[in-house]
């Protein structure tokens, strides 16, 4: 047992400090912010102390919880849990630090920090859970925190609507997950990951049941990680504060889906059909996300679609099924978390100062905000896969695994995604920071952010540059030998994809030749494609028509029954009694 009781404290500490935070906030705003930051820092340190245990092979601590049902509280300390706990807590610390300057002095900040602490604690608890049921409890908690934080500025109806949408869409996935894990429990009698893994290896679970439960669990992961077809909530979730977007919707919560698939792949991985499903979900989401990001005008939506796309690549890697690709997906998780959080934080400081998210209104910021410029630059080059930044190495691992596995269709599609990735990344970068300063920018006083905001940006930029050196350490932690990139053609192909994406962006948005609007006018087909992409391929209206509108109509129809008149309500009671009596008579 860890001398600092780190296995328990790393997730219990943030959770219990949620209760203390309102008390501390009585001492003032600064006390509250520093309290939150210190708690997360301690939790990150505790996660670091768990690394030796994980390197030694990992342990699992079980405490009996409901002996009647055989339920235990299991805390699992192994490579994957500690890896994700480190990602969550370190990023959480940097983002809490950033929030001090970003959120400033607003109303409702106690609620904000409580939710952030609750979120980080639940996320850590999620990754350290040793059985399905415990993980599901934290899964739900994480979803709730996310919805509340999206709707943080509840005076804005768009934010409330976005929070509700996020909750409902992830709920669809959660129901699938719940049914899947209950089915598994009914069949095998256990929730624990270890026991299920052993059973699956021996072939103790019928293959039909395994596939069904696998698909249902995958549905949960799809909902949480905003993959196709449940990807519609993530772009709207950008209504929340940018720190929330950075923490939850780029770096941690959406990784819960990837974590889940990674955690259960020893259980369900024996089913080839399941792996194919995972891979196809991944690649379709990757293509959807990348193409939609190329057309949108909202700077945060670019990053949101990019998240969908990068997570799709992770799902694709997990769908290949080999240990090397498993490692590649987790490594890409870490790198995506770093550069996406960086991107969101940089975009956040731009939005904070300008008050708009529309990229058409921003141009020429480069001279005025040097630190943000540098941060955005680092994020963009890491995202596109420019060497030697980490994005290059992690994406290449995935692509090379595709090539070694012989999945040439996926290989080609992944390169297609890379082309678009670098296109939209540099498009955003050039649009915002180059060119003549727009009227909006000229009208506002632009200043650079305080130290609590710049230090996290700087740290993340450094991380994005040098983290690839830790690849060996990460592979040791995860217990998988570092996969070798077998063919240099893979590097060549991805660099080519990078160039193919970069050049149009450079020409269109930096050199302005040809001028984008001329291009749109002369070739009608480009603007049609752009419209389709901006509308999100019509998924939102489709879901609205088939699901949301009938439910609302049903609600309005039932509303007419509620008259508020006693006599009419009594009819309802009498009808109910009549029905019950008839049923009893029939029986």
């Amino acid at each position: 047992m860890n001398p600092y009781y780190a296995e328990w404290l790393v997730w219990l500490l943030p959770l219990s400090s949620v209760l203390l935070l309102p008390v501390v906030s009585l001492l003032g705003g600064r006390a509250r912010e520093w309290f939150a930051a210190i708690i997360i820092f301690i939790s990150a340190v505790l996660a670091v102390t768990l690394v030796p245990t994980a390197l030694a092979g990992g342990t699992q601590i079980a405490v009996s919880w409901l002996p009647v049902y055989g339920l235990q509280l299991q805390v699992r300390v192994d490579g994957l849990s500690v890896f994700l706990a480190l990602v969550v807590n370190l990023l959480g610390f940097l983002i809490v630090l950033y929030s001090q300057g970003y959120m400033g002095r607003q109303a409702g900040l106690t609620r904000y920090y409580c939710l952030i602490l609750l979120f980080i604690g639940s996320m850590t608890g999620l990754v350290m859970a040793g059985n399905f049921l415990q993980m599901y409890i934290f899964w739900e908690l994480v979803g709730i925190c996310s919805s509340f934080l999206i709707a943080f500025w509840y005076d804005r109806p768009e934010a409330v609507r976005a929070g509700l949408k996020a909750f409902v869409v992830t709920r669809v996935g959660d129901v699938g997950l719940l049914i899947g894990l209950i089915l598994l429990y009914v069949d095998t009698g256990t929730f624990s990951f270890d026991a299920l893994e052993a059973l699956a290896r021996q072939g103790g679970i019928a293959s039909g049941l395994l596939l069904t439960c696998g698909i249902l669990v995958l549905l949960g992961a799809i909902g949480k990680s905003a993959q196709f077809p449940l990807h519609v909530w993530l772009p709207d979730a950008m209504e929340g504060p940018s720190t929330v977007s950075a923490l939850i919707h780029a770096a941690t919560m959406v990784n819960a889906g990837v974590y889940l698939v990674a955690r259960v792949s020893p259980i369900f991985g024996s089913s080839g059909v399941w792996l194919t499903c995972v891979a196809w979900v991944g690649i379709i989401s990757a293509i959807l996300g990348a193409t939609m990001a190329a057309a949108t005008l909202d700077v945060k939506r670019v990053f949101a679609y990019s998240t969908i796309s990068q997570l799709g690549l992770m799902f694709l890697a997990l769908g290949i099924g080999s240990p090397g690709s498993w490692f590649a997906s987790q490594f890409h998780l870490m790198s995506q978390a770093a550069f996406k959080a960086l991107g969101f934080l940089a975009a956040g400081s731009i939005i904070h100062l300008l008050g708009t998210r529309n990229m058409d209104e921003m141009s020429g910021l480069g001279r005025k905000m040097p630190v943000t410029f540098a941060a955005f630059f680092f994020s963009v080059v890491a995202m596109s896969g420019v060497p030697p930044f980490i994005g290059f190495w992690s994406k290449d691992l995935i692509i090379s695994e595709l090539q070694t596995g012989g999945f040439y269709l996926f290989f080609a599609l992944a390169l297609f995604v890379s082309v678009f990735t670098s296109f939209y990344a540099f498009r955003a970068f050039f649009k915002v920071f180059y060119g003549k300063p727009s009227e909006l920018i000229q009208s506002k006083p632009i200043h650079e952010s305080p130290l609590t905001m710049t230090i996290p940006l700087a740290l993340l930029s450094i991380a994005v540059t040098v983290l690839w050196l830790l690849e060996g350490q990460v592979s040791r932690l995860l217990g998988i030998s570092e996969p070798a990139v077998t063919s240099p053609w893979v590097y060549a192909a991805s660099l080519l994809a990078l160039m193919v994406g970069f050049l149009p962006a450079y020409c269109l948005f930096f050199r302005r030749s040809p001028e984008p609007s001329h291009l749109l006018q002369r070739h009608r087909w480009i603007s049609t494609i752009q419209n389709v992409l901006i509308e999100g391929y019509g998924f939102d209206p489709l879901y609205e028509r088939t699901f949301a509108t009938p439910v609302m109509k049903l609600g309005s129809a039932i509303r007419t029954i509620q008259t508020g008149i006693l006599g009419k309500n009594m009819w309802g009671i009498l009808i109910f009694l009549l029905v019950v009596a008839l049923v009893v008579l029939a029986i």
Binding site: G567, M570, W571, L574, L577, L578, A581, V584, L585
Partner: protein, 171 residues
């Protein structure tokens, strides 16, 4: 014999209750309700559940009816139920209730008492100065106490009605 007694009391109870709800003048309606509670207490007493019966008479026929009277006088002026006698909504309510009653009655009748039964051995209540034979109760000495109680409570009720109705009629 007890069967006949039960049938008489039961029909009387239903008639009195129905009239309590149908009569338009609220004061008369309340008096009918008072008698309904009294009858129910009498049914309890016949079967030898003396404690329950007396409790029923004292609370419902006594305290609650008086409370109703007082409230009625406080509210004042609304001594008549307003509105048309037979409207569509009233008909719907009556039909639904009648249907429900029919179904429930069928169920209860067919189950021959085995459906709802609360048994605790065969121990009857030990306050048995009244004995367990319902007929002897009616003629035993304590019946005078009950009679006086009824007269007392009715007199109180009448007194309150007359006291307050003077104010009402002075409007």
């Amino acid at each position: 014999m007890t069967t006949a007694l039960t049938i008489i009391f039961a029909t009387l109870l239903i008639v009195v209750t129905l009239s309590a709800l149908v009569i338009k003048r609220l004061v008369y309606s309340l008096i009918m309700l008072f008698f309904s509670g009294l009858l129910l207490g009498a049914i309890f007493l016949i079967y030898g559940a003396s404690y329950a019966g007396l409790f029923q008479i004292i609370t419902f026929a006594g305290a609650v009816s008086v409370m109703f009277m007082v409230i009625l006088m406080l509210v004042g002026g609304e001594l008549l139920s307003t509105g048309p006698r037979f409207s569509r909504e009233q008909l719907v309510g009556c039909i639904l209730a009648a249907a429900g009653f029919l179904v429930v009655a069928i169920i209860l009748w067919q189950s021959t008492g085995s459906l709802v039964r609360i048994d605790e051995g065969t121990v009857t209540q030990g306050l048995g100065t009244f004995g367990n034979d319902p007929l002897t109760f009616l003629w035993s000495f304590r019946s005078w106490d009950v009679l006086f109680l009824i007269i007392l409570v009715s007199a109180t009720l009448a007194g309150i009605v007359s006291l307050f109705s003077k104010e009402a009629s002075e409007d």
